[in-house]
C-alpha cells in the first residue's frame, strides 16, 4: 500500500520568495477559469477585459492606483503586525477608527490655519488607528487574551461606534441617512493628476512601503520586532522588552490601517458613510500573506488585487460575468498562497507500507 506523509523540508533558497507568489497568482488565474466558465463567460475575452479594464486606459490605470492605495496600507498594516506574530485581524476596525477621526476633525477644523488642517487630520487618523490596535495588544501582553479573537471582534465594536455616531453627533444636520457632513476643503487630499482621482494619499502609501522596509531592515526596533515574531521566549531571554515591542508594533500597524481610512475619507468619499470600506481591512490580510509579509511583496500583491477589483467592473460589463468574480479570485489567491506557503516548509513523502 502506498501512503503519504507530510515531512519538513530543508529551507528554500532566497529566489523562492519571489517565485512562489508569482506562481500562486498564475495558478489562481488558471483556477479562476472554472467559475468564469460556470458563469457563462468567454474565457479569453473575460481575462482580456479583466486586464484591459484595469490597465488599458489612462483613467483605468490611475483608478487601479486609487484602489490599490487602501489595500496597500492595510496590507502593510497586517504584514508588519504578523511579522511580530501580533495577529492583527482588525485592520478593518482600525481603518474605520482612522476615517472616523478624520471625519470628526475634517468637519470641525474650519478655524485652524488651512495648511495645518490636513497634517493634523492625517496624524490624528494614524494615532486613532494605532490606539484602536493597541487595545488588543495590551490585552494580549497583560492578560494573555488571544489577539486573533480580540482584534477581529473589535472590528464590530468599531462598526457600531461608527453607526452610533453617524446616527448621532456626526450625522449631517437635516439628513435622515447615517452619513456625516462633508469635510472642509482644507481637509481633503489634493488631487495630483487632472481628470483622475489620483490623490496625495497614493504617494503616502508608497512612502509607507519604504518606511516599513526601512524600519524592518535598518532599525533596532525592526530587529526586535522580528525577534519577537520568531520566538518570543528567546527574545525575552535575550533582554528584549517584548511587551513594549508588541505594543509599538500594534501602534504602527493600526496607524497604517488608520491612514487607509483617512485616505478613503479625504480623497474618495469626502464624508463618512457606513460602507466607507468594502472590507479593505480583511483584504489586507490576504494581501499581506500573498506578499509574504515583505513590504515590497505587499506593494505588488496590493496592485494585483486592485487590478482584479477594477478590472472586474469592465469584465462584467463586457461579458456578463458578475463582478463578484473579483472576490472569488481574491479568496482563491489566499487559498493557493497558503497552500504554496505550506509547501515551502513541508513536502509530501510517499511511503510504501
Amino acid at each position: 500500500m502506498i501512503g503519504f506523509r507530510i515531512v519538513k523540508r530543508e529551507p528554500l533558497p532566497g529566489w523562492a520568495k519571489v517565485v512562489i507568489p508569482i506562481a500562486a497568482i498564475i495558478v489562481t488565474l488558471i483556477l479562476s477559469a472554472i467559475p468564469i466558465l460556470i458563469a457563462g463567460g468567454h474565457l479569453w475575452k473575460s481575462y482580456y477585459y479583466l486586464f484591459y479594464g484595469a490597465l488599458g486606459t489612462r483613467f483605468n490605470l490611475l483608478e487601479t492606483f486609487v484602489k490599490a492605495s487602501p489595500l496597500l496600507l492595510t496590507g502593510l498594516a497586517v504584514a508588519f503586525a504578523f511579522r511580530a506574530k501580533f495577529w492583527n485581524i482588525g485592520a478593518e476596525g482600525q481603518l474605520l477608527a482612522g476615517a472616523l477621526t478624520a471625519t470628526a476633525l475634517g468637519v470641525s477644523l474650519g478655524g485652524v490655519p488651512q495648511p495645518l488642517v490636513l497634517p493634523i487630520v492625517i496624524i490624528a487618523g494614524f494615532v486613532a488607528g494605532g490606539i484602536w490596535a493597541s487595545i488588543p495588544a495590551l490585552l494580549k501582553t497583560k492578560l494573555k487574551v488571544d489577539d486573533v479573537v480580540s482584534t477581529l471582534l473589535l472590528n464590530y465594536v468599531m462598526i457600531h461606534i461608527m453607526g452610533a455616531l453617524l446616527f448621532g453627533p456626526l450625522q449631517q444636520p437635516g439628513s435622515s441617512w447615517p452619513r456625516s457632513s462633508a469635510i472642509i476643503k482644507a481637509a481633503s487630499y489634493p488631487i495630483l493628476l487632472v481628470r483622475s482621482r489620483f490623490h496625495m494619499g497614493i504617494l503616502l502609501s508608497f512612502l509607507a512601503v519604504f518606511v516599513i522596509w526601512f524600519i524592518n531592515k535598518k532599525t533596532t526596533f525592526g530587529y526586535q520586532s522580528k525577534a519577537v515574531g520568531v520566538n518570543v521566549r528567546a527574545a525575552h531571554f535575550g533582554g528584549i522588552n517584548t511587551t513594549a515591542v508588541i505594543l509599538w508594533t500594534a501602534l504602527i500597524s493600526g496607524g497604517l490601517a488608520g491612514l487607509a481610512g483617512v485616505g478613503e475619507l479625504c480623497a474618495i468619499q469626502y464624508r463618512l458613510i457606513m460602507d466607507i470600506s468594502p472590507g479593505y481591512g480583511y483584504s489586507g490580510i490576504v494581501i499581506a500573506m500573498l506578499g509574504n509579509l515583505h513590504p515590497v511583496g505587499v506593494l505588488f500583491s496590493s496592485l494585483f488585487f486592485s487590478v482584479i477589483i477594477v478590472g472586474a467592473q469592465t469584465m462584467s460589463r463586457m461579458t456578463g460575468v458578475p463582478t463578484y468574480i473579483a472576490e472569488v479570485i481574491q479568496g482563491m489567491a489566499l487559498m493557493v498562497m497558503l497552500i504554496f506557503l505550506l509547501f515551502t516548509e513541508y513536502r509530501i513523502r510517499v511511503v510504501r507500507k
Partner: protein, 506 residues
C-alpha cells in the same frame, strides 16, 4: 528472573535521529508477558523516544520491531493500538466536560453503524473495572476527578481497546504519594491478569519498588539490564550517570577569590505552583567552578530560570559582585554581567529562524556601540559577529546563514560566543554539553575552564556526574529544592555524591 517465555515485544537495533541528535542508538529491548519492566534513565536518555517508536508515534530510522512474534511496521498510534500496544503519556488526552464512559469510547469502535451503543459499552466497562479492580463511576464528569482517577480513566481507555501491552510515561510525575501507591497496586493487578507493562521513570526508588526488571538507558543507549532483585539504587544511579567519559581535563590550580554570585534563602515555585526551591543558599567565587549535581526535577530548572531572569522567585535574594539582582528581568540580568547558558538552547537561548549574526547581537544590539538613534550600525555589527565566529571557530556558511542550519555543537558555540562576549563576572551554565558529541563537549569544557582562569565564577548545573567531577572546584548536590550537601572537588567521592542525590544524608 530467567524468563522462559517468548517476549511479547522485541525491538532490535533501534536507531532514531532528530536532526543531528541521536536519540536512540542501536537499542535492543524486550518485554516479556506478565512483567513490569522499568525503563530507567535521565531526561533526554531516550526512554520516551524509544517507547514512542513502539507506540507508532515516531518511526525509527533503523531497526525492527516484533510484537507477539510478528514483525510490524508502525506508522501511527492506531497501528500500535490494533496490535495491543497502549501508551499513557504524562499529559492525559481526556475531554474534561465529558463523562468517564464517554471518554472511554471516544475513537473506539463501540456501536452499530453511526449509532452509539452506550449500553453494551457500559457493560463492557463495568466488567473491565471488576476484573482489574479499577473502581470509578462511569458517569462522573472527568473534570471532577482527581489526577490519580483521571489516570485510571486513561488506563481503562487503553484496556477497553483491548490493549495488553501498556506503556506508562513517567506516570508518577503528576501524582501525590498516596496516589502513587494506588497506581502501583493497579499496575500489579494488571500484570496478574496477564498484561505487560513498561514503566518509564527516572526515579530510582519507584523503579525498585514496582518493577520486575530494569533496563537503563543513557545517552540513547542501553547501558545495563538487571533483574530488580539483583540490583540496588546506588548501582542504578551509577549506570544512569555513567562513567565512560575519557576526556582528560587539565585544570590549573587557582585560588577562589571574592564571591561573585551569592544566593540567599531563595524560594521559587515551579510551573505547577508547587515549591521547587526551598530556602536555597549558594555562593560562587571568582576563579571557581561550582558544580551543582542532582537528579533532574529537583529544582535545577527553576534555579537556572531564576538566574536567567525568566522566572520570578517568591522569596530570597541574589547578589552579583555584591550588588543585588533585580528579579524576573533578563535585561537587568544581562546588564549585571551574568553569562547565561540555558539548558534549552533551541527554544530559549537562540532564535533559530534568524541569522547567526542576529543571534550574536541579541543581547547588545541596543547598546550604544551598535546603534545611533535606533539605526543599527551594520558595519560594526558585521565586524563584531565575524570576530566572534572566528574566535569561537563556529562552522557556518557565514554570518547571514540561518541559525537552524548549524549543528548542535555549533549552536552551542553561538550561544557561548554571545554570552561570553561581554566578559561576564558570573556564568550560569545549565546542561551545557547535553546532546553534544565528544568533540563539541571538550570544546565547551575548555571554554568554561578558560572563563574560570579569566576570573569568572561559574555555576555549572549538570546531571552528568563525569562533567561535574571533571570541572568542579566544589560540588554541591541539589535535592528537592535545597542543597543536600557540599564537598570540595578533590575530596568528593562518587558514592557520597550519589547518596546525596538520592536524598540520603550521611
Amino acid at each position: 528472573m530467567a524468563n522462559p517465555k517468548q517476549p511479547v515485544v522485541r525491538m532490535s537495533s533501534i536507531t532514531k535521529h532528530f536532526l543531528d541528535v541521536t536519540a536512540n542508538k542501536n537499542i535492543t529491548f524486550n518485554l516479556y508477558p506478565g512483567e513490569i519492566c522499568a525503563l530507567l534513565g535521565e531526561n533526554g536518555a531516550g526512554k520516551t523516544t524509544l517507547m514512542n517508536i513502539l507506540f507508532g508515534y515516531y518511526t525509527c530510522d533503523e531497526g525492527e520491531i516484533f510484537i507477539k512474534e510478528e514483525k510490524v511496521n508502525l506508522s501511527a498510534p492506531k497501528d500500535a493500538i490494533s496490535r495491543g500496544v497502549g501508551m499513557i503519556h504524562q499529559h492525559f488526552a481526556l475531554v474534561p466536560s465529558q463523562t468517564v464512559l464517554e471518554n472511554i469510547i471516544i475513537g473506539a469502535d463501540s456501536g452499530k453503524g453511526i449509532f452509539l451503543d452506550l449500553k453494551s459499552a457500559r457493560q463492557e466497562l463495568l466488567q473491565l473495572q471488576e476484573r482489574f479492580g479499577l473502581q470509578i463511576d462511569p458517569d462522573a464528569r472527568v473534570w471532577t476527578l482527581s489526577v490519580g482517577e483521571q489516570q485510571k480513566v486513561e488506563i481503562l481507555k487503553a484496556l477497553y481497546r483491548e490493549v495488553d501491552i501498556l506503556i506508562m510515561d513517567e506516570p508518577t510525575a503528576v501524582l501525590a504519594p498516596a496516589e502513587i501507591s494506588d497506581l502501583f497496586s493497579t499496575l500489579r493487578s494488571l500484570v496478574k491478569e496477564g498484561q505487560s507493562v513498561v514503566f518509564i521513570s527516572h526515579k530510582l526508588n519507584e523503579v525498585m519498588d514496582i518493577s520486575d526488571r530494569i533496563v537503563v538507558l543513557r545517552a540513547g543507549q542501553v547501558v545495563a539490564e538487571k533483574k530488580t532483585a539483583d540490583t540496588n539504587t546506588r548501582e542504578l544511579a551509577s549506570f544512569m550517570v555513567g562513567r565512560d567519559l575519557l576526556e582528560i581535563i587539565e585544570k590549573k590550580t587557582l585560588n577562589a577569590g571574592q564571591p561573585v554570585l551569592e544566593i540567599e534563602k531563595l524560594d521559587a515555585l515551579n510551573d505547577k505552583k508547587l515549591l521547587a526551591l526551598k530556602s536555597l543558599n549558594l555562593v560562587v567565587r571568582q576563579n571557581e567552578i561550582l558544580g551543582l549535581a542532582g537528579i533532574s526535577g529537583n529544582g535545577q530548572k527553576e534555579l537556572s530560570e531564576v538566574l536567567f531572569g525568566i522566572r520570578e522567585p517568591i522569596g530570597g535574594l541574589i547578589k552579583i559582585d555584591g550588588g543585588r539582582l533585580k528579579f524576573g528581568n533578563p535585561a537587568a540580568i544581562i546588564k549585571s554581567k551574568i553569562g547565561r547558558i540555558p539548558e534549552d538552547r533551541i527554544d530559549t537561548g537562540l532564535l533559530m529562524d534568524l541569522t547567526v549574526e542576529e543571534n550574536l547581537i541579541l543581547e547588545n544590539h541596543s547598546s550604544s556601540e551598535f546603534h545611533r538613534y535606533g539605526l543599527m550600525k551594520s558595519r560594526k555589527i558585521h565586524q563584531f559577529s565575524e570576530d566572534l565566529i572566528s574566535a569561537y571557530d563556529i562552522m557556518t556558511a557565514g554570518r547571514d546563514a540561518v541559525t537552524k542550519s548549524l549543528s548542535g555543537g555549533n549552536l552551542q558555540k553561538v550561544m557561548l560566543a554571545r554570552e561570553l562576549a561581554g566578559r561576564p563576572k558570573a556564568i550560569v551554565a545549565s546542561q551545557p554539553t547535553r546532546g553534544l558529541d565528544v568533540g563539541a563537549m571538550e570544546y565547551i569544557h575548555q571554554r568554561i575552564l578558560q572563563e574560570r582562569e579569566r576570573g569568572a565564577g561559574i555555576l555549572l548545573i549538570s546531571e552528568d556526574l563525569d562533567e561535574i567531577f571533571a570541572l568542579s572546584d566544589r560540588i554541591a548536590v541539589l535535592f528537592e529544592g535545597a542543597i543536600m550537601g557540599e564537598a570540595h572537588g578533590e575530596e568528593a567521592s562518587r558514592e557520597q555524591i550519589g547518596l546525596w542525590m538520592s536524598g540520603v544524608k550521611k
